[in-house]
Amino acid sequence: MKVSVNNKEYSVEVTNNPSLLEVLRDQFDLTGTKYGCGEGACGACKVLVNGIPTPACITPVTSVSGKKVVTIEGLAENGELHPVQKVLLEEDVFQCSYCASGMIITAAALLKQQPTANVQELIDGLNGNICRCCTYPAIINALKKLSQKEGEK
């Protein structure tokens, strides 16, 4: 089977029906997507599947056949960081940063859908992502800057 990840076609070994997370990490060495809980409860493994943030740990790789997968490694375009990456870096929000990939993927999709999301909408949209260091207020403050800027346009 073939899978498109970050605009690149990959051949996948699908014996035993692996999850998208297992394939990304073990077969493609795309380790930016993290394992956190194995049950879609923490958001660490989220990737975009046709633009929708999806927990890769509970997604069979066979289900993304013919779809476009984007991981944290593929979020920057033409060497330019995604605005969500940029603002989280500028605002220096993270501690251990293990949640960062899933957090950024989720926020990028959320702000694409709702570019002027208010604080409550940001909280609702990100509630499935755990940051165990609890940098939540800093993440919201940073993203708020993006959505406010968008609102002022």
């Binding site: 692996p18 956190g36 194995g38 993270f94 940063s97 940051c131 919201i140």
Partner: protein, 710 residues
């Protein structure tokens, strides 16, 4: 001066061909080539400690062991070697800042080698809020010494005695002669290694240009692009994945195991060594299938149930010391008496990166990468288990996905080494979330009994017994009382260990609850009562700062709103938290409306990162205060997953304010622990204020509903 932090620690670049244990003064330049360096021994570190650390750390095997050093190479690279590890506290940044400050370079110019037992000097471990307290000030001095050496070398080179030389951007400059020389040029061909001169003059905090400022996380970009490799992400050529067979319950003994089905799977290796059974395969899924195909039977012991926990902790405790007559009499004669017992549940650290270890054997040498707070602890363990000489092992700790005190052990590093030895290939093991919950360790459960009294408006007696959870934070910060403070060791049914602030959270919860109750019992405002009794002006200062920001005197908008406060001091940090809560009228649901925390830990090295630590502590503490608890039954955890064990999420984060008090006149202490201790009692006291309900358990409200008092 553009050497990149972390570059020498990246996978596959070994600047030394073999492990060297720890580099000694004698062998220093054999490994470092040329250049200049200053080093610190452990006795310097302890003497320089601003705080008397009342812990085992002071007993050190060899006080003359090197603790850290800083080296400048002929290429101008500045490298710091320390056995501390980066697990999200952002000490890679803060330590770089203090060194960069003294050497007049940008923090990014500092190459920090951390937690590598082949390169960095021995270190007990990264815990106890000791890095900023002990290592940071002495690294400053080591860097200041280097600065002096650089000036001396410039004077020699230029054959001048002028004292008006200054340093800027990696250059020593003579403004009179309009000459300048890079640090690298100054050290070329030299081999200078000097012990730190503790009397060296460091730059005063009010002059700081790099330290004291919000320098962003070093290598931050690697973390937001997915480029940084945590141990769980690392890959070595020929590497296979490993898993280990676990008992179905605590204390169960293996009777029999049939591994024949697993062995039939292509590419799977089964390793058996006594009761240890492990499997390896080329990928995560196959190894999981192999593990699941092992049929095993176990002899289960009779385990304790959670319902018996608190009685058990008291029943198995060491015998009580006699409480002095003075304390007893003060209590008997008092106007107001309180005698209460608190129950504290086990909680889990839940680091988002589960334990991961990668091991590789080559010609009798063992290399292990592991996310642990104690690289040298793992090194020693490997030495014992595999009977290896000290310099045949090298342990690396790349920047790790958090710990909170939960990664002081490294079973996974040992497991990976064991499997790797058998299969003759590098083996990586990443614990599953379930393994992380069940087979790591917990913050201790505990029972705390307090008998306290008030006479003529003053606290007259204070008797506190802590069963099992620990003695940290047991000291009573209020004046006047006859005291009896006692920690009783008990037998813990679950494996327990370190956690952010250890037992301080439990002790401060009990203490600040009872002090609040005494104040209210005597009809006095809890804030005024505390200010009247507090002894330490630093604690008073944070209480006043938080009270002012919170506006403690303000009127409540509704009668179902409550205000609460608490204060405490732990490990050189001073903290006060004030909260506003609401008990929703119909549902009695708790809503946390506002949290204000004031914190002071001496001079601030990085305001942004300090604020982040304080926020993180308060929010993590909110989980343990309200809903986090380890549930177990029949020797097994019943909530070993993130759908059943609740940790704070975005929606749990209330409106928050953090006030940082900067004491430029005082040395810095760590901040990763102390700010956690006040959120629980502040919430408890606010719930009482709103509803009249007094809570005596942690977590207080697993269901989120405040019980009805009527």
């Amino acid at each position: 001066m553009k050497s990149k932090a972390n570059k020498k620690q990246s996978l596959g670049i070994n600047i030394f061909k073999q492990s060297v244990g720890s580099i000694s003064r004698r062998s220093f330049f054999k490994y470092m080539g040329t250049g200049i360096a200053t080093y610190i021994v452990w006795s310097d570190v302890f003497v320089a400690s601003a705080l008397q650390v009342n812990e085992k750390q002071l007993k050190f095997p060899d006080q003359d062991l090197i603790s850290s050093w800083i080296h400048i190479s002929p290429a101008g690279d500045i490298t710091v070697f320390t056995g501390k590890v980066e697990i999200g506290q952002n000490i890679r940044t803060s330590l770089s800042q203090v060194v960069a400050e003294e050497l007049f370079v940008a923090p990014g110019a500092i190459n920090m080698i951390m937690g590598d037992t082949g390169l960095t000097p021995y270190d007990r471990g990264t815990y106890g809020s000791l890095t900023t307290l002990q290592i940071s000030p002495i690294l400053r001095k080591a860097a200041a010494n280097l600065r002096e050496i650089l000036v001396e070398e410039a004077q020699k080179t230029w054959k001048i005695e002028a004292s008006n030389l200054f340093l800027r951007d990696g250059m020593v400059i003579d403004p009179m002669a309009n000459k300048m020389l890079g640090y690298g040029d100054l050290v070329k061909g030299k081999q200078l290694l000097r012990k730190v001169n503790k009397n060296v003059k460091t730059i005063a905090p009010k002059e700081w240009k790099v330290a004291g400022h919000s320098i962003p996380k070093i290598n931050g970009k690697d973390f937001i692009t997915g480029k940084h490799r945590y141990v769980s992400d690392m890959v070595l050529p020929g590497m296979v994945f490993g898993r280990v067979l676990r008992p179905p319950a605590y204390g169960a003994k293996l009777l029999d195991a049939d591994t024949s089905q697993a062995e039939k799977i292509p590419g799977v290796n089964v390793v058996r060594e006594g009761d240890f059974i492990g499997v390896t395969a080329a990928d995560t899924l196959t190894v999981a299938i192999a593990l699941a195909s092992i049929e095993s039977s176990w002899d289960r012991s009779t385990p304790m149930q959670r319902s018996e926990l608190f009685k058990h902790l008291v029943d198995t405790a060491a015998e009580k010391k006699t409480v002095s007559e003075a304390v007893g009499q003060a209590f008997e004669r008092a106007d107001i008496k309180v005698d209460k017992s608190f129950e504290i549940d086990y909680i889990a650290h839940v680091p988002l990166e589960t334990r991961a270890g990668l091991a590789s054997w080559k010609n009798g040498h063992l290399e292990v990468w592991a996310g642990t707070q104690r690289p040298f602890g793992l090194h020693e363990e490997l030495q014992k288990i595999f009977d290896l000489p000290v310099d045949s092992i090298r342990v690396y700790v790349p920047d790790t996905g958090s710990g909170y005190g939960g990664k002081q052990t490294s079973e996974v590093g040992v497991e990976a080494a064991r499997l790797s030895k058998h299969v003759g290939k590098p083996v990586k093991i990443c614990w599953t979330r379930e393994e992380e919950f069940k087979w790591a360790y917990f913050r201790p459960a505990g029972v705390i009994q307090v008998r306290a009294s008030l006479t003529n408006g003053k606290i007259s007696s204070w008797e506190l017994h802590n069963y099992n959870s620990g003695s940290a934070g047991i000291d009573f910060p209020y004046s006047g009382a006859k005291e009896h403070l006692e920690f009783h060791r008990s037998s813990s049914p679950l494996r327990q260990g370190s956690y952010r602030a250890l037992s301080s959270t439990a002790n401060v919860f009990a203490m600040e609850s009872i002090v609040n109750d005494l104040a209210i019992g005597s009809g006095e405002d809890p804030l005024q009562f505390r200010l009247r009794h507090l002894e330490n002006p630093r604690l008073t200062a944070v209480v006043k700062a938080a009270a002012q920001a919170f506006d403690w005197e303000r009127q409540k908008s509704q009668d179902n709103i409550g205000y609460g406060m608490a204060c405490g001091t732990v490990k050189g940090g001073f903290v006060a938290t004030f909260v506003e809560i609401e008990v929703e009228r119909k549902t009695r649901k708790l809503i946390v409306r506002d949290v204000v925390t004031a914190f002071e830990c001496g001079v601030i090295i990085n305001p942004r990162h300090l604020e982040s630590q304080v926020t993180g502590c308060v929010l993590q503490g909110l989980g343990g205060a309200l809903f986090e608890a380890v549930d177990f039954k029949d020797g097994n955890l019943t909530n070993a997953s993130l759908t059943s064990y609740r940790v704070p999420r975005f929606k749990d984060a209330p409106k928050m304010r953090v006030i940082l008090l900067n004491r430029e006149d005082l040395p810095s202490s760590g901040a990763g622990e102390a700010p956690i201790v006040c959120i629980a009692p502040a919430l408890r006291n606010a719930i009482h204020n709103a509803s009249g309900v007094k809570l005596y358990k942690l977590p207080m409200l697993p269901s989120g509903i405040v019980p009805d008092n009527t």
